[in-house]
Amino acid sequence: MTSAELITELQANRPAATDTLRDRVRALAAAEPARRPSPFARLSRLSPRRFALVAVPATAVVLLGAAGVVGLLDAGSPPQVAPVARESVGQPPAATSTTPAATTRAPTPQLKAGVVGAGASDSALPAPTPGRAQRYSAQLTLSVKNVDALSAATQQAQQITRDLGGYLVTVSYATSDTGVSSLTLKVPTANVQDAIVRLSGLGKIVSQQVQIDDLQGQVDDLTKRETALREQIARLSARLAGTDLDAQTRATLEARRAAARSELAQVRVSRSQVNAEARYATIQLTLQTPQSAVVPPVPTRWDNSVHRAGQILAAEATIVLYALVVIGPFALLALLIWLGRRGLRRRQEEQLLSAR
């Protein structure tokens, strides 16, 4: 008997259910409850694969939608831009308080001080009072275009100083992508206004501060003291020229004259120092290149939306990643257990079926 004949015989004798069984099944079917469409019936019929096919894209759409909606709603508040970049150029520093006169001996020091911002006219500069000893100090910060301009401006500043009869005290020059040059200049007080005007032309004024301390009081005091000491020395010298003095008195007068002469020498030195200080003004010149050449563009509402949505998406991705990290091992373990149990069940089934 061939396989074809076997198949034919098997198919020709298909078993049929008994009437008893048929009646029993019909009775069961008659008791079938009417199927009520339940909204959850479809869900219960979904296979895990189908469920995943629907759930994963749906979740992605919800997450994207949430990010988009939150991004649009939050678009009104622009993201914070670091203020440093904007303040680095062109903003004058806060005005510093004027310092008191250097010496407290000046009874009523006449004090002038001013801070002049960028773009101030030259006439706004306080001028030294002619005929009075004054300490004139100015701080000038200029912005130049680039490092090349910085180098040229530094050299020109030195040249201007020399032209006006002044001299350079210190210079510091540093460059990389940006550059800063700091100079301390001494300029005759009579020429200081001219110096500041010419130095200001080397770049864009970022800030400018002028401080004038009146030293005339000190000079007057020192002059008076010098006169008094001279008179005292003259009187002492006259008494010592006499012959009626005993040895002790003579020694005392000589000691007093020596002390007066010593003090007179100190007073002269002090007066010459104060006069020298008044003769030359000090200019602290700072030349700098812009620290941030690129000013960040002002973000639009769309930029803000995209930025905010990106932040939300990043947060969502982080949460999903954390969830995967936490749930992943358990899911893998569950999968392995399920696969193991399925394999075991199949082997048992095969054993059962092969044994019968």
Binding site: M1, T2, S3, L6, I7, E9, L10, Q11, A12, N13, R14, P15, A16, A17, T18, T20, L21, R22, R24, V25, R26, L28, A29, A30, A31, E32, R35, S38, A41, S44, R45, S47, R346, Q348, E349, E350, L352, L353, S354, A355, R356
Partner: protein, 174 residues
């Protein structure tokens, strides 16, 4: 000019349990009979299968497979449950257990040689013959019922047929 009737959209409504039971009762019974080689047992298991199917009928989705495949799957799991219970019972009772009363001529109409040859096959071999040849499921449907790949179904069927043929031939020679 002839007027033709407009085409009506035919929507196939999902079968009712009564329809499915009436249509596939013989298939389920035949499969169980081949699996168990015991007519009363196949009768009982078929009844239990339809009871279970009625309880789970709301979960049946025609888009995922035919009612026949679904019912045969339930029949198989019902039979396997019974086999397991029987196996446990026999292990408990061990020597006291009587050998199962399996009929030599469990399918009416078959030649005695084929009946004997079928009895010499394992239940696993008989079920693939029943599904593929007697009930005439295709490879895909059979694979779904058995929970294996269509290739494995093919292999099993070839082996079962070869074995059956050999047993019939040996019987003829005797």
């Amino acid at each position: 000019m002839t007027l033709t009737r407009p085409l009506t959209q035919t929507t196939t409504a999902p079968p009712t349990f009564a329809d499915a039971a009436e249509r596939h009762l013989d298939d389920v019974f035949g499969y169980l009979l081949y699996l168990t080689r015991d007519r009363p047992l196949a009768d009982d298991l078929a009844g239990a299968t339809f009871e279970k199917a009625l309880r789970q009928w709301s979960r049946f989705d025609p888009r995922r497979g035919s009612a026949r495949t679904w019912l045969l799957g339930i029949a198989r799991s019902t039979a396997l449950d019974w086999f397991r219970a029987e196996s446990r019972r026999r292990r408990r009772e061990q020597a006291a257990a009587q050998p199962e009363a399996q009929e030599a001529n469990f399918v009416e109409g078959l030649s005695p040689g084929l009946q004997t040859a079928l009895a010499g096959l394992s239940a696993g071999e008989r079920e693939v013959l029943a599904l593929r040849i007697v009930i005439e499921l295709d490879g895909e449907q059979t694979a779904r019922v058995l929970g294996i790949s269509p290739t494995a179904v093919s292999t099993r069927l070839s082996r079962a047929l070869a074995k059956l043929e050999e047993k019939v031939r040996n019987d003829d020679l005797r």
